[in-house]
């Protein structure tokens, strides 16, 4: 029990930056470039943590609190997620609500930190972030509701736990629909193409990246790490959801398939980023509403 928790927390702490490396490597390969090393994110983090920070005259403590609270919230949310097999470190009925709201907490503080700079660009990014998030949130919730209804449990560990196998047998279409919907939400929440472009250099088109323009040094490291952690969380959820169809007993095998699944997820994200263009900003809410509708449809299938 304790060991499993330690493994989970260790995985949570160590693994995420690798995902970003995989995504970038996949994109580079498809574009015909060699791309950065797989562990580039770790190097970046180490470098940033060593650096000093530059602060604007306009900012207050809110600006400094933003990255710390953002990371803490994502990390705490990670404790609720059963990553490599078995149950999560903390699990109770309704913990998925807390999961979603912890992410919202992180977002709230990131947005405030952005507003604290007084820059119009960062304000714009914050506005977009919170606006799109308010549409993404119900979509995410709907996915959880479908899962909860399909498995009959209200905790993440239960939803992604043993009951999932039976759920896939009973209600595969509904789960598949919600998995698709969930993937869309994942792209939006993690600021990936087609919603946002993490590599763009035009501030006017950015969402997440523009919010953190003014952060530097250790602050930026926290943000970067938090972003990778968040990608990890969503990836883990999706992987657990899909592999639930052929349930494996907890153990090394399950852990291995989980890690492989995550790498596959990162590759899929990279593929999507290579294959698609960014959507117009006004299209983003439509896409998210579309995802919600898919989930509602799935729910209707289950409630019928």
């Amino acid at each position: 029990m304790l060991l499993r928790s330690l493994v989970q927390v260790g995985l949570l702490l160590a693994f995420p930056p690798l995902l970003l490396g995989v995504v970038n490597r996949v994109k580079a390969t498809i574009a015909g470039r060699r791309g950065p090393p797989l562990f580039q994110t770790y190097y970046d983090l180490a470098k940033l943590l060593r650096k000093g920070a530059v602060y604007s005259r306009t900012t207050t403590w809110v600006f400094r609190a933003g990255p710390a609270v953002g990371l803490a919230a994502v990390f705490t949310a990670g404790l609720l997620l059963p990553s490599a097999g078995g149950r999560a470190a903390v699990s109770f009925a309704g913990d998925f609500v807390l999961f979603a709201y912890l992410l919202a907490l992180g977002r709230f503080f990131t947005a405030l930190a952005a507003l604290d700079t007084g820059s119009s660009f960062e304000g714009m990014g914050a506005a977009r972030e919170v606006s799109f998030a308010s549409v993404a949130e119900p979509a995410l919730f709907l996915c959880f509701v479908v899962l909860a209804r399909a498995t009959g449990t209200l905790s993440l560990s239960g939803m992604l736990g043993p009951g999932l196998g039976a759920a896939w047998r009973d209600a595969a279409p509904a789960l598949l629909l919600s998995a698709i919907s969930f993937f869309v939400v994942t792209l939006a929440e993690n600021a990936r193409i087609p919603v946002d472009d993490p590599n763009t250099h035009l501030e006017l088109t950015m969402i997440h990246e523009v919010m953190v323009l003014d952060h530097s040094g250790p602050d930026l490291a926290l943000i970067l790490y938090g972003a990778s952690l968040k990608l990890f969380l969503f990836g883990a959820l999706l992987v657990r959801l899909l592999e639930g169809g052929f349930w494996l007993p907890a153990g090394p095998v399950a852990a291995l398939t989980f890690v492989l699944g995550l790498l596959g997820f990162a590759a899929l994200v990279g593929l999507v980023e290579s294959a698609m263009a960014r959507l117009r900003l006004t299209r983003v809410p439509q896409m998210l509403v579309g995802a919600s509708v898919l989930s509602v449809f799935a729910l209707v299938l289950l409630l019928r």
Binding site: G94, D95, F108, V145, R149, D214, G217
Partner: protein, 661 residues
């Protein structure tokens, strides 16, 4: 003993304004004594409520009364106890806040009047919560409305509060008439007007009754579409009054709904569904309206509509649960709703106090003219942030806990039989998430526009921090928000007991559901503490490394001389969402886009008239006045016409009697 504590609290609250009135020569002393009396009343009431909630059971007293159908019957049960605390507590804190915010030395007789009626309002609300007789309830109910009317028009030298107060009073009174009908129908069915005699009413055929209760209590609660009076009234009052209005006066409407539905045996699921839908509409539209506001207090007022919506959703879920005898739905929905009542009282008062401090420091409530106050008012900024996070339902604060309970309750619908249409209550959870997301967006806007960035006007530049009498109550409220947010499990058993009392479910089932919820709530505690620990750890970790270089200007993406005018304002911030709501809210957008290579001027403004008040109620009232004028025009002042009316009356009555009747 407990009963006399509660009665003493109400009595003391009623009399609390007297020192201010009598010691007009020494205003500071008088006001302080008044505030102290109100605080003492709150403490007494809190003690009584705590004793009831701790499992002491309901207490009641009864005296004879000769008023028709009336009896001086008072009863404090768990439901009442949950309401009694904020009902007395928020006015008490408000009066402390008022010591600096509205000192008698500066505002003269207006402050005396405000203090007097603040105490009376608290007492009237206490009476509402304690009354065990319909007529006595109505006395408290209307007393509260009149006191609130006087409180709202405290600044009676400006036309805006007068108008808002009148709209409030008129709608409150009309709502009370619906309650007249409601109580009268119940009373004649049972032959008594004591609440105790009304328990176990059959719900069959009670649809009309429920509709009356929904209108009567819904108007007071500000449930959409009966919210129309609310934004004006809350915005026009002094901030501590706004806190009382929004924090507790609205809640009496919820209390009434809970009391009223408690009378019925197994209410049909459609009641719960109606409340759920009304609550969802309130929640979404309330926050939608809030997003469009530029006035800090109006914005907060619309958030009251939103939060009342969340509470109504909780109550609706509980009602659906009663229709299906499902203890989980009942306990979670009820607990979420009632806890949100308390929570909203806490964080909304906090926010209104904060808004008052801002207005006090800058003289404006216009979001577009504020900004950058966090430097001058760091404490207020921090406390306001706590309130903002709490109202957005973010952990580890109390708003999250109650929304979480309501969401869990709505998911309890999963437990219903397959094919039961009531199972669609599960859709409440995503709606809540939507509301929560929008609220977070809105409060990011508010906090950003008020406290962060550059000051956008000279007024905002000259701001100063508020004195201790204003910060103190805010800090207390913020602490309470955090305490409930971190340790919710402490309250859950009492909520479950209250739910059992209210619903008439077997206590065992309800307590079991409550125990399950409490177990989950302990999980919340664990996570919340972890979160705090991680934040502290990260901060500690970062501190030694933060070798900050000399401060610089914000990086303007290459633009060298950024000014405050270039900032993203509140309106711009909300623009995406407002655009999304445009069809629903019928907002007016004024846009003069820049044209050509060298644009001359450009201009963007949004204005959202109050949907129901400005587009339905007021036109209807005006139309009614015109129609009445037409009828009046038929009556000339000629004596012949007067005589003619007598003649007609005689002939008509004779014809009625002898030809037709």
């Amino acid at each position: 003993m407990i009963a006399s504590l509660a009665i003493g609290a109400v009595g003391l609250a009623a009399l609390s304004g007297l020192p201010g009135l009598l010691l007009r020569r020494r205003p500071a002393l008088g006001q302080a004594l008044s505030a102290a009396a109100l605080c003492a009343a709150a403490a007494l009431g809190g003690a009584a409520a705590a004793s009831v909630l701790a499992g002491g059971g309901a207490v009641s007293v009864r005296w004879p009364w000769h008023e028709p159908y009336g009896s001086l019957a008072l009863r404090l049960d768990s439901l009442g106890a949950f309401f009694l605390v904020p009902v007395l507590g928020v006015p008490a804190l408000g009066s402390v806040y008022g010591l600096s915010y509205w000192p008698q030395a500066k505002h003269g007789y207006r402050a005396v009047r405000l203090q007097l009626f603040l105490g009376l309002a608290a007492a009237a609300m206490g009476l509402v919560v304690l009354a065990d007789n319909a007529l006595l309830f109505l006395v408290g109910w209307e007393g509260m409305a009149v006191c609130a009317f006087i409180l709202v028009r405290s600044e009676d030298d400006r036309p805006e509060p007068l108008r808002a107060a009148w709209i409030y009073l008129a709608s409150a009174h009309v709502g009370t008439f619906a309650l007249f009908a409601f109580f009268s129908l119940l009373g004649s069915a049972r032959g008594s007007f004591d609440f105790s005699a009304w328990r176990g009413m059959p719900a069959a055929g009670g649809g009309l009754l429920f509709a009356l209760a929904l209108v009567g209590f819904g108007i007071k609660a500000g449930l959409f579409p009966f919210h129309f009076w609310l934004p004006g009234a809350h915005a026009a009052a002094p901030s501590h009054v706004s806190a009382v209005m929004s924090g507790v006066v609205l809640k009496t409407g919820i209390y009434g709904l809970l009391r009223a539905t408690g009378f019925f045996e197994a209410p049909p699921a459609s009641w719960g569904a109606a409340l759920l839908v009304a609550g969802a509409a309130s929640g979404v539209l309330g926050v939608g309206f809030a997003l469009t506001q530029h006035d800090l207090k109006r914005l907060l007022a619309y958030h009251s509509v939103e939060n009342i919506g969340i509470i109504a959703m909780g109550v609706g879920i509980a009602l659906v649960g009663r229709a299906r005898s499902d203890a989980t739905l009942v306990v979670l929905g009820f607990a979420g709703g009632v806890l949100h009542v308390v929570n909203h009282a806490l964080f909304k008062s906090l926010l209104f106090f904060g808004a008052g401090s801002v207005a006090h420091a800058t003289g404006t409530r216009d979001l577009e003219r504020l900004g950058g106050l966090a430097r001058a008012m760091p404490r207020t900024a921090l406390l306001f942030l706590a309130g903002a996070a709490a109202i957005s339902g973010l952990p580890p604060l109390n708003g999250f806990v109650s929304e979480w309970l309501v969401a869990l309750g709505s998911l309890g619908g999963m437990g219903l039989a397959r094919g039961d249409r009531a199972a669609f209550v599960v859709l409440g959870a995503p709606v809540l998430a939507f509301i929560g997301g929008l609220a977070a967006a809105c409060f990011a806007k508010v906090h950003g526009a008020v406290f962060l960035g550059h000051p956008r006007s000279p007024a905002a530049q000259g701001a100063h921090e508020s004195p201790a009498a204003m910060i103190g109550p805010m800090a207390l409220l913020a602490l309470a928000c955090a305490a409930i947010g971190v340790f919710p499990a402490l309250l859950v058993p009492a909520l479950a007991r209250a739910a059992a009392e209210w619903s008439g479910l077997p206590a065992g089932e309800a307590l079991a559901a409550g125990a399950a919820a409490a177990a989950s709530a302990r999980g919340v505690t664990l996570v919340a503490l972890t979160l705090l620990a991680v934040v502290v750890a990260l901060a500690a970790l970062r501190r030694p490394r933060a070798r900050a270089t000399a401060p610089v200007d914000t990086w303007g993406c290459g633009y060298a001389a950024p000014t405050a005018r270039m900032e993203y304002t509140g309106s711009s911030f909300a623009q995406i969402l407002v655009e999304g709501f445009r069809r629903v809210l019928l907002s007016r957008v004024e846009l003069e886009a820049p044209h050509g290579l060298f644009p001359r001027s450009a201009h963007f403004a949004t204005e959202v008239p109050e949907l129901v008040l400005d587009r339905a109620i007021l036109p209807a009232v005006r139309g009614g006045e015109v129609a009445a004028g037409r009828v009046r025009g038929l009556f000339s002042g000629h004596i012949h016409f007067y005589a003619f009316l007598v003649f007609v009356a005689l002939v008509a009555l004779l014809a009625w009697r002898f030809l037709w009747w």
